[in-house]
Structures are given as structure tokens and as C-alpha cells.
């Protein structure tokens, strides 16, 4: 795996906050204040730590410590005394996967990831605008824990931004397909694709941010992303606190038509006529 790509989450975090964001927790979770519009948003990232005490979580995966630290940082922001509007949260997303390991399972990594998702969703329900900024990989359980509960999802329009439920190799094995057969399907079946443009076609991206250097953001790139973040925060403040807007876009009406139809018919049948 390409080091430049892996470090993207950290690069964008540092660019947005102007600091290293070390917390009194694992070095793999960073949190800091990012000026966005005329406010200071709380920015959180998961980054690689080659010395991580859990060997299976050294490459920027969301492991046990990371899941719980994310939950803690989000809930700390919620607990801060507040004057005026609730503070915005920005999840900088570059997570290759959840950690795969025996200790991880025994010690409940599913719960650690759930705790992070719970914290982000609770922040959203409490009125904090939560924005996910996809700058690298947004994979599977790691994305569910860090970013997928956001009111708004933004993504850099870049080939290194990938969204999926499982790595290609593992997905090929689990579905008993050759890598070639899987590649052919990902090109033909939109939800199976890994690239962010296909993901956006599902109506799941509120803004694809084009024309920025994803690996080495210059000042203009940063300004462009800050402006998009400010737009997303303002939009989230005007919108409902649930995720219903994800099904409202023209893209969703086309490729998530079944998700909409299921809900329409369920509402009809819910109360006995």
C-alpha cells in the first residue's frame, strides 16, 4: 500500500487544524480545532501509528482503542459548555478497515465501533452538525464507526478516495469469484464499485470536491475544502436531525429507488386499515 495515500488523513487533519492533534489517548486518534467559516469546528481523524499497542491496528485501521477514543472525543465535544449554536464536528475519513484479530474479537471490537457510531449519531441528534470529509479510504466497519453517521458526507473527487464493504481480495474470496470476475462486476454494478464517483451516484455524497490535490493540499485546495465544509455545516443546521435527506437526492431516486419504495409501502401497511 502506498504510504503517501495512507498518510492522507493525517495530512488533511494537520492542514485543517494547524496542529498534530495528539490527545490523552492513543496516538492513532487525533482531535483539534479547525477554523471553518466564522466558527471553530472540532476535527477528528484516525491515523496510522506504527507503535500501536495492538499490532493489528498499526496501519490506520479502527481498532479497539480507536473506537473507544473516537466515542470519547465526540462525547467530550458534546459535553463542552456551549454559547450559541452547537459545535460542528468534522470526521476526516481515511480508514482502510476495522482491525482484524483474535484479541480484537475477544475484547469486543464490534462494541468499540458501535460506541463510535453511537457518539457521532448522538451528537447529530443533539444538534451538532456532523460532516464526514472523505480524503482516502472509507471502508466497511471503519467507515460505519467513523463518518457514516454524519448529517453530510463530502468527498474529494480523487481516484484515491475509495468506499466499500470489503477489500477486493477478501471480497473475491468470500463471494467465490476470481479477482478478474470481481473487477468486471464492479465496473458494471454501481453499488459494487470502489471509486468515489460511483459512490456519489448512489446519492450518498452531498458534494464531490473537484480540482484539489488530495495528496498534498496547497493553500487554495485547503480554502476550497474549508468553504465546502462551511456550506455543509450551514446546510446541516437547516435540515432534519435524522438521515432522511440521503434518500432525497435525484441520484438516490434513481439508484436507491428500492430503498424509497420499501419505505413508502411500509408506511402504508404500518397501521391496519
Amino acid at each position: 500500500m502506498n504510504t503517501a495515500q495512507r498518510a492522507r488523513g493525517l495530512r488533511w487533519f494537520e492542514a485543517l487544524t494547524g496542529g498534530d492533534g495528539l490527545i490523552d489517548g492513543p496516538r492513532s486518534v487525533r482531535a483539534g480545532d479547525a477554523p471553518v467559516g466564522d466558527e471553530l469546528a472540532r476535527c477528528i481523524a484516525v491515523v496510522p501509528d506504527p507503535a500501536n499497542r495492538f499490532a493489528r491496528a498499526r496501519g490506520g485501521e479502527v481498532g479497539l482503542d480507536e473506537g473507544w477514543a473516537l466515542a470519547r472525543e465526540v462525547r467530550r465535544t458534546m459535553a463542552q459548555a456551549q454559547v450559541g449554536a452547537q459545535r460542528a464536528l468534522i470526521a476526516v475519513v481515511d480508514v482502510s478497515s476495522q482491525a482484524y484479530g483474535r484479541s480484537e474479537e475477544l475484547l469486543g471490537i464490534h462494541l468499540a465501533c458501535a460506541a463510535a457510531a453511537d457518539a457521532y449519531a448522538s451528537a447529530r441528534l443533539a444538534g451538532h452538525p456532523v460532516v464526514a470529509l472523505l480524503v482516502g479510504k472509507a471502508m466497511s466497519g471503519a467507515f460505519l464507526a467513523h463518518g457514516y453517521q454524519a448529517n453530510r458526507i463530502l468527498a474529494l473527487d480523487d481516484p484515491g478516495v475509495l468506499v466499500h464493504a470489503m477489500s477486493k481480495l477478501a471480497a473475491a474470496r468470500v463471494t467465490r469469484r476470481s479477482l478478474e470476475a470481481l473487477e468486471e462486476l464492479t465496473a458494471r454494478v454501481t453499488p459494487m464499485a470502489y471509486d468515489v464517483r460511483s459512490f456519489a451516484r448512489l446519492g450518498l455524497v452531498d458534494e464531490l470536491i473537484g480540482g484539489v490535490n488530495a495528496d498534498a493540499p496547497a493553500a487554495a485546495d485547503l480554502q476550497c475544502v474549508r468553504t465546502a465544509l462551511a456550506r455543509a455545516i450551514a446546510a446541516a443546521r437547516r435540515a432534519p436531525l435524522d438521515l432522511s435527506q440521503r434518500l432525497g437526492s435525484a441520484a438516490a431516486r434513481e439508484l436507491r429507488a428500492a430503498s424509497i419504495e420499501v419505505r413508502r409501502r411500509l408506511a402504508e401497511e404500518w397501521d391496519e386499515s
Binding site: 499497542r53 466515542a71 482484524y100 484479530g101
Partner: protein, 278 residues
């Protein structure tokens, strides 16, 4: 009628399980198989779709109170979550929330048998699971959300997060609850990390008995229809806060462990099991 002998819950299919959980005669299916709401993504990949997409939804009663059950059928695509099956689960939870907000409380029960995201629908399965999470977290503030994991397929991936978000988790000895399936761990981390074929090892890490004994699930039940139906009802009598909200408690527990020498399964039961939830 009294039941003197055990009647297996695991051997029932999703529809029969839902019927068995609800008060006798109260089962009313929503979006039944005759509505033919199938996955639009499977046929183009040469896979035969199923007319309920592997999820059975039913309204009914629990001790006379309004309830809704969402049951996953492990016999179809390993209980995996695709666009339609995921939207069915998220959709009923969203409607239950709307009901609760209007003062019409509905008791939600999830009967989970799932390997997680259906890889043939990858990103739409993942999106649906995020919406299931969002719905559980919002609904749980109004009414307990109860998860039952009964069969050997178990509960993995994003659906394991969903179970962990619930107010109460009921498991049998046969069931498993984990983030990553053993085969995926072996594939990603190697045979030395985990031998997926070693069933005894796998169940010692993530089986129902271990999860309940180490405080990561709530109630261990026998594979018995009457007992499971009783425990589901008891779960609504009043439960503590969900584990996923107990950040300081679990962070402290984890911080106290040595990652180089993690505790064995039995030791973890002593460390975490004895301590009762607040």
C-alpha cells in the same frame, strides 16, 4: 397450553420465529412475499432473488402491547444485508420511532442471523446498515430495542454493531457475535492469528456463553421457543443504558489490559463478567 418439552427456536425459519415470539394470533406480516419486493441487484449477477429478500417484518403484540419484529432469514444469502432487506429493517425502526413520538409506543425486536453486508450489493448494504444504526440509536431513547441472536450463523459485520447498539442482547450457546467473521480474519491476518476451522476456538472467543459471561451480551438462553419468548418480554420490563453509551467504563477496562498479553477467554470472564452494569 403448557409446554413440557423444549421446542427448538433455531430450527424455525424467520417467519416462524416471528410468529413464535409474538402473542398467539397477533402476527401480521408487512411487505410479505406476495409483494415481490426483491433485490434489484442480484439477477444481473446471475443470482436468484427471493421475494422477501431474506427479511420478515411483522406487527403484533407482546404481552398485549404493540410490537414489531424484524427477522433475518439466514437461509437466504447467509442473512446478508442488501438494499431491500436493509431498507426493510431500517424502515420499520423509523416507523416505530414515529409511532413512539406520537405517543403510540411500539416494542421493537430484532431477530438477527447475519454475516453483515451482502457483498453483491456492497455499498448499498453498508448504507442501509448505517441507516439501521441511526434508527436504533434514535428509537432506543423512547423504548428498549431488543436483539436476539439464536442460530449458528451468528451476527457479524455491521449487524454486530447494530446488536451492540441495542438495549438488550439475548443469545443462545449456539450463536456467535463478532465484528469480523473467522474466515475473514484468517484471510486478512493469517492462520496463526485465527484458525477459522477450529470451531471450539471460534466459539470460545465469540460464542453466546462467552459473550454473556464477559458482559458483552445480557441473557444466555436455551434454544427453546418458550424461554426465548419469555426473555424478550422480560427485556421490556426495564433495562439499563446500552453498552455503546458507557464510554468511560469500557475505556477504563480496556486501558487496564496489557495488549501484549491479552487475557484468555476464561480470564476475561473473571475480569469483566463479575462486574455488574450500573
Amino acid at each position: 397450553m403448557s409446554m413440557l418439552t423444549r421446542s427448538s427456536f433455531i430450527e424455525l425459519n424467520a417467519r416462524e420465529r416471528s410468529r413464535a415470539i409474538l402473542d398467539a394470533g397477533s402476527f401480521r406480516e408487512l411487505l410479505g412475499p406476495f409483494e415481490r419486493l426483491k433485490s434489484p441487484w442480484l439477477a444481473p449477477q446471475g443470482i436468484v432473488a427471493q421475494s422477501d429478500d431474506g427479511v420478515v417484518l411483522a406487527r403484533g403484540l407482546l404481552d398485549g402491547a404493540s410490537a414489531v419484529v424484524a427477522a433475518i432469514e439466514s437461509g437466504f444469502q447467509g442473512g446478508s444485508i442488501g438494499e431491500v432487506s436493509g431498507a426493510k429493517i431500517a424502515g420499520v425502526l423509523e416507523l416505530a420511532l414515529r409511532g413512539c413520538e406520537r405517543g403510540r409506543t411500539v416494542r421493537p425486536v430484532l431477530l438477527i442471523e447475519s454475516g453483515g453486508v451482502r457483498l453483491q450489493e456492497a455499498n448499498l448494504g453498508l448504507a442501509a446498515i448505517a441507516e439501521i444504526h441511526a434508527a436504533i440509536i434514535a428509537l432506543r431513547r423512547r423504548v428498549p430495542v431488543v436483539a436476539v441472536i439464536a442460530g449458528p450463523v451468528g451476527c457479524f459485520g455491521g449487524m454486530a454493531l447494530a446488536a451492540a447498539l441495542c438495549s438488550r442482547i439475548i443469545m443462545t450457546r449456539q450463536a456467535r457475535l463478532g465484528m469480523n467473521g473467522p474466515e475473514v480474519i484468517e484471510q486478512e491476518a493469517g492462520l496463526l492469528e485465527l484458525d477459522a476451522a477450529d470451531a471450539r476456538l471460534v466459539w470460545s472467543l465469540m460464542g453466546g456463553e462467552q459473550r454473556c459471561a464477559s458482559g458483552l451480551a445480557d441473557v444466555l438462553v436455551a434454544d427453546d421457543v418458550t424461554e426465548i419468548a419469555r426473555q424478550v418480554r422480560a427485556a421490556f420490563a426495564g433495562v439499563g443504558g446500552p453498552r455503546s453509551e458507557q464510554v468511560e467504563r469500557f475505556s477504563a477496562r480496556l486501558a487496564a489490559l496489557d495488549a501484549q498479553r491479552p487475557p484468555a477467554a476464561l480470564e476475561l470472564r473473571q475480569r469483566w463478567g463479575a462486574e455488574r452494569a450500573p
